[in-house]
């Protein structure tokens, strides 16, 4: 039995919403970071869904690229978080507010 496309899309939307809420509400930078990854992967899921649905392999190929870039981005992001922690002894995003006037 084939699972209807709506299931995938709803799952993806839910993942995305969880990600957004996490990004907006959580204070720990690492969790915020993980939520960003969650949003990214929900987008990947949508891509794969449509790729399969339309029978076009391009979407799945694209996901590989996204994952590769996400891995690099995760390395840089984690490095930044570590650097901030070394300086401020915190990863609480509320306290990291020096980028202003």
């Amino acid at each position: 039995m084939q699972i209807p496309i709506e299931y995938y899309l709803v799952l993806s939307a839910l993942m995305f919403s969880v990600g957004i809420v996490g990004v907006l509400t959580r204070r720990n930078a690492i969790i915020v970071f993980m939520c960003v990854e969650l949003m990214l992967n929900s987008a990947n899921l949508t891509l794969i869904t449509y790729s399969s649905y339309l029978g076009d392999v391009a979407g799945q190929l694209f996901v590989f690229f996204v994952m590769a870039v996400a891995a690099a981005e995760a390395a840089v992001g984690l490095a930044i978080i570590i650097a901030i922690f070394r300086n401020k002894l915190t990863v609480n995003i509320d306290e990291i507010n020096i980028l202003k006037w």
């Binding site: 990004v23 907006l24 995003i93 990291i96 980028l99």
Partner: protein
Amino acid sequence: MINLIYLTVLFPFLGFLFNGLVGPKLKNEKLIGIVGSGAIGLSFIVVVGAFFQTLALPVDQRLTIVTLFQWIDVAGLNISFAYQVDQLSLVMSLIVTGVGFLIHVYSIGYMHGDKSFWRFFAYLNLFIFAMMNLILADNFLLLFLGWEGVGLCSYLLIGFWYDRKFEKSTTSAAGLKAFVVNRIGDFGFLLGMFLIYSTFGTLIFTDVFARAVSFSVPTHIFVLIAIFLFIGATGKSAQIPLLVWLPDAMAGPTPVSALIHAATMVTAGVYMVARCSIIYASAPAAMMVVAVIGVFTAFFAATIGLVQNDIKKVLAYSTVSQLGYMFLALGAGAFSAGIFHVMTHAFFKALLFLGAGSIIHSMHDQQDIRHYGGLKKYMPLTYGTFLVAAVAISGIPPLSGFFSKDEILWYSFTNLGTIFWLVGVITAVMTAFYMFRLYFMTFEGKEKFDHNKVHPHESPKLMTVPLIVLAVLSVIGGFIGIPELFSGEHGNLFHTWLAPVFKTAEIKLMQVGSHSHFEEILLMTISIIAVVSAILFARNVYLKKTEIADKTASKFKKIYNLLLNKYFLDEVYDATIINPIVKGSDKILWETADNKIIDGLINGIAKLIDQISGTIKKLQTGIAQSYAFVMVLGILIALFWIILSYS
């Protein structure tokens, strides 16, 4: 030689470059002096050559335009660096290069030992360069270039001894005064030039003057042009109301006073008005203004000259007065008589100034004639030449001054009226009086200087030879302009030579010379008798009964002080024009307009923006999540909007 006329401009310029660039390193007065005066000597030779070549041409072909190169060519304005060689410019060139050469030679002796010897000659050469451009120009713009150039050199040379005191301030202040007063006149000149261009569509002399005849231009335009140009002339030639700079210009070295402020530059205004004779002839009202200003200046400057005690001041006021005569002649429509007086005046006034320089030189920079006296036996050559010049300027026949001055008086009588003639004669009487007052107080009578400190001596040959040459010219210079009355069928040579230049103007004026020779002789006799008695009177007062002068002075103390302080003209200008401008600039323009309004406006705008942004900047909290929130909110709104617009 006519086609080589540009050399007369080039040589002084080369001299200027040499003296200005190489001079400081030379430390060789001889070489600098030879280059400086040699450049002018060569110019003079070229001018003489051009003169004789022109003389050989038929009368109607004596105008040559020598174009060097295109200068300005934009939007219909087409101006070349071109020189106009005709009778008038040749006469002026001969005067400027000839007298200029003599004064250059004199300066080698006079400036001997000066620490800036090279600078002096560089400036003098630059002056001749500018003056030749002024004279030879074939259009108003090139004339204006020379006009400004001579003004600049005048400024530089008045303040030549910039570290010396002059009266209550410094020589550089005197130079600045000359410069600023001249700028006022130049403004009028510029306006006149603009008006000429907008009326006639060209600035080239020959075209402008041809169109002045052929175009039907209303008289008031002519009057405006003529008055504007005349304002320029009053500045350059020190006429009322812009005469205040010339007496202060005496702060410069004496050869400068002789060259620039007596013989050449100050006559530029006369030359310019004569050059534009047709414009003035078309504007009778302006002619009248010129005549009235001229006669007033002549009269008032002469009255001031009566009581001055500084030898150069007396000569300065005398110059102003004689320039007034020239303008009187121009106003009377006797253009060639005016130019004739320019020439004779250049001879005897240069001679007087150089003589004064020779005296000052030997009296250790003492300029007060009350400390002279009895110099006759110490400096016989200076004495002799000075006497010649004094006789010439007083107008005793047959010296040059007589012919030119008498001609002007005659024309003012026939063309303007008896009153002009009368004021002219009174001025001539005063001229004779103050010149001989100067002469008697300097050369005759008791020696009033301290023999222990001052040892009067004759000046070196370099200075006396130019004096002698100028004295000879002052004696014989008048003979080329002998009135028809005496010369018979030859007529007046000078007039015949200049006649083609002024022909159109004179036709336009339609002067009717219906006065008889008897009248001419009568007027001549009256003026000679008056002048001779003035000289005798001066002799009586300043040689025999010296106490009369002091008594008169104390009796009419108010008038005496008025004259001594030149009618308080400087003070009046200070009170009515300069101080209001200074105070107004200070209080209104600076403290109110600039400090409060303009600065306040700019600072106010800055403050306003600062306050607004101070409020707005608080939106930027630095918390990344709040930015993300706004972003998400924006995306949601956009999504809803898209969805709603589809359904």
